[in-house]
């Protein structure tokens, strides 16, 4: 199905179109990361409807838009977003492969302190794997760490 020309369309309306017209895509990919030495490993799971939007193209804003909004929110005097128009008026990104979508999602939803330096320490802080590679039970879940 062809994505309508969504240039300038509110992101919420684009998501509503996708919900109505695209089937969800359950990805097998998972992103395991550690952002605190005192906490267990966290696991990022892509949403099936979001993944459908990413694969379809023409719906999601570029990831830098989220970084700009995060910068605004980090300001001490932040009360509410005044640049939400970036989500709606920036030209949507084109279709991605599943792997590109996971990279996008890492940059959107993982802390930048993890993905910017994920491989610079004594051991990796982040690993992309499939869900079949994760433990299949939740035993000792709060002690899970990325293996060296």
């Amino acid at each position: 199905m062809q994505t309508p020309d969504f240039k300038g369309t509110h992101l919420w309306d684009r998501l509503c179109w996708a919900k109505e017209n695209l089937d969800g895509v359950q990805s097998d990919y998972r992103v395991v990361y550690e952002d605190s030495i005192d906490e267990c490993a966290k696991i990022l799971v892509p949403d099936p409807n979001w993944m459908a939007c990413a694969l379809q193209g023409g719906i999601l804003p570029p990831v830098w838009v989220y970084h700009e909004l995060a910068k605004d929110e980090a300001q001490e005097d932040f009360k509410k977003h005044t640049r939400g128009y970036l989500l709606h008026e920036t030209e949507p990104v084109g279709p991605m492969t599943e792997e590109e979508a996971i990279e996008y999602l890492i940059m959107k939803d993982c802390p930048s302190s993890v993905w910017k330096t994920y491989n610079e320490g004594n051991r990796p802080k982040m690993v992309i794997c499939t869900k079949q590679q994760l433990p299949q039970t939740r035993e000792w879940r709060n002690s899970w760490k990325i293996a060296a």
Binding site: P4, T9, L11, W12, D13, L15, C16, W17, K19, G24, Q26, R30, E39, C40, K42, I43, L44, V45, P46, D47, P48, N49, W50, C53, L60, Y66, L69, A70, E73, K79, K80, H81, G84, L87, L105, K108, D109, K131, L134, Q136, T137, R138, R141, N142
Partner: protein, 129 residues
Amino acid sequence: MAGKIIADTLEHSTAGSVTTDYVVNGSAKAWVDFNGSATATILDSNNIASLTDQGTGQYQFAFTNSMSSQYFSISTNTSNRDSSNAGVDRSSQGGSSSSSNFHYEICDITTTSNIDAVAGHASIHGDLA
């Protein structure tokens, strides 16, 4: 978009009228239904980009369309996805410190420890960015 209706007021033949502000501001801006046990999975949603499994009974959800601020309403619920004692002895809570995501936690009220969600649900009301 095709099929667009622009209206400020909806009027019923006998029951009166309501401005469409009520509809726009009162609609849920995101919702999610997920399974937080085993390898956590989102079953269906709207305006959710990802789930982060943060440990036993602790989950974070990121929005695709962020909220306008960190102040929005989170309604949560948990169940067993069957008809037998659904959600008994479980308490679910939501919280947020960011406009881009919210936190969801489930507690066993007998042991007061976190416990994984077999079926977790949340809906969000508030203003979009």
